[in-house]
């Protein structure tokens, strides 16, 4: 259905329910749900999950599971801003009335939940994912033996683990200062298996991540090096956005349309880097958003960006 016909359909509904098709991704059953015009995409996600008999994690109010707009002629869109009004979203260009719910690999450690980026991870990587340092050990629920730090364990959706801290006391021991934010986050990236390195170039700081995975095809190579520019004041809360991609990088045999459209090419460490216009659809949130979550955002470019 083209957008003009869709708008006519909306008018016919004259402020009542909008009917939308929803399916479980990647290839689950589909159904129709009705939703009020003033409802948000988060409401739609909750209603779709209920209609499809799916439990959203960690909760229906703050799910980590994702809502996608399904587009037959282009790559589906992962909807990042679930606070948008459904009607406004449907009137935006290229949107369709078909939506998908993807149940993510949600992992709980204590009371927090994150999406596990890999199907199996070491406890060291899991602790890094949750921002926990070497003062913590990981246990199965009601387990009394710490999981070996470097032995991979398979991660199942909804899996629960518990991180227990050491107890430190001292009459004369020095107070240990917490690691600076950037140093801590670089350590977390390393714990997650990323090769992350801080580079100073022309008065600007960058974090270089080597070997970011990409599907082949459409990408010509399965690993890419990226650079993330750190703004002044990052440690004080300034947001990260976009990233640079080492060249050459070919998508369907040519340069991706989001690569190299803005900014000047960089020459750094003997490579040419082009800026990738891969922006957030919602505001940078503190304290949830960090260099670690930004790397996950950058990684999603290789799997989510439309041609």
């Amino acid at each position: 259905m083209d957008s003009q016909v869709e708008r006519q359909a909306d008018r016919r509904e004259s402020g009542h329910d909008i009917k939308l098709e929803v399916r479980r991704l990647p290839d689950g059953p589909d159904t129709t749900v009705g939703i009020e015009r003033r409802d948000t995409l988060l409401d739609l996600l909750g209603r779709a999950a209920t209609a499809l008999d799916l439990e959203l994690l960690p909760s229906i109010d703050e799910p980590l599971d994702t809502l996608h707009n399904l587009r037959p002629r282009e790559r589906d869109e992962l909807i990042q801003d679930l606070g948008q009004n459904v009607e406004d979203y449907l009137h935006a260009p290229h949107t369709t009335r078909d939506f998908g719910v993807r149940l993510e690999r949600v992992l709980f450690v204590n009371k927090k939940a994150r999406i596990a980026p890999e199907p199996s991870m070491t406890p060291r990587q899991i602790l890094g994912l949750f921002g926990l340092d070497e003062n913590f050990s990981l246990y199965r629920p009601d387990g009394n033996e710490p999981l070996p730090l470097d032995s991979e364990i398979p991660i199942e959706r909804g899996m629960r683990l518990e991180a227990q801290r050491d107890g430190k006391y001292g009459g004369g021991a020095p107070v240990t200062a917490p690691l600076p934010k950037l140093q801590r986050e670089l350590g977390e990236l390393e714990a997650l298996g990323h090769s992350a390195r801080l580079i100073h170039h022309g008065g600007q700081r960058y974090v270089r991540i080597d070997g970011v995975p990409a599907p082949t095809p459409p990408w010509a190579t399965s690993r890419h090096d990226i650079l993330i520019a750190l703004p002044n004041g990052y440690e004080q809360g300034a947001a990260l956005d976009a990233f640079y991609l080492a060249q050459p990088s070919l998508y369907d045999g040519r340069k991706h349309r989001r690569v190299g459209n803005a900014g000047q090419p960089l020459t750094l460490e003997g490579q040419t880097w082009l800026l990738v216009s891969w922006h957030y659809k919602s505001a940078w949130r503190l304290p949830q958003d960090t260099l670690v979550t930004h790397v996950l955002h950058c990684r999603s470019f290789f799997t989510e960006a439309e041609a």
Binding site: N110, K111, N144, Q164, R165, D166, Y169, G172, P174
Partner: protein, 122 residues
């Protein structure tokens, strides 16, 4: 708000017996964990020490100025409290160089809230 910790005489003697080597020549910091139940009556808030769990050899490291409970020790006692439906953990430790007065060190004040926050989070 203050909380009164109550113990049986037997438990208190156990604490003294466990702590006393700290105050002999060459003594190191010593510590022990226990579990407590809770009692609130009006404005009174009391914690009753139910049982002490002396650390095993591999569950604690210490020297003259430092004591560290391994996570597996805290875990063991935490699971006891959870399985018995008790209110929480009591951590007791010595400062061997204290003479007439003793207080929590800046290090204790920096570290213990992080441990408490972790236990609250689990």
């Amino acid at each position: 708000m203050s909380v009164t910790l109550r113990t049986s005489d037997h438990a208190w003697q156990s604490v003294r017996a466990h702590a006393s080597p700290s105050f002999r020549r060459g003594g190191v910091e010593r510590g022990i964990l226990g579990v407590f139940s809770e009692n609130r009556i009006g404005n009174r808030h009391e914690a009753l020490l139910v049982e002490l769990f002396p650390p095993r050899e591999d569950e604690v490291t210490s020297d003259e100025t430092h004591l560290e409970f391994a996570s597996r020790y805290i875990r063991r006692v935490h699971l006891e409290a959870r399985q018995r439906g008790l209110a929480g953990l009591v951590a007791i430790h010595t400062h061997p160089f204290a003479n007439e007065a003793v207080d929590f060190s800046p290090y204790d004040d920096a570290e213990e809230p992080q441990l408490a926050a972790n236990l609250w989070d689990i």
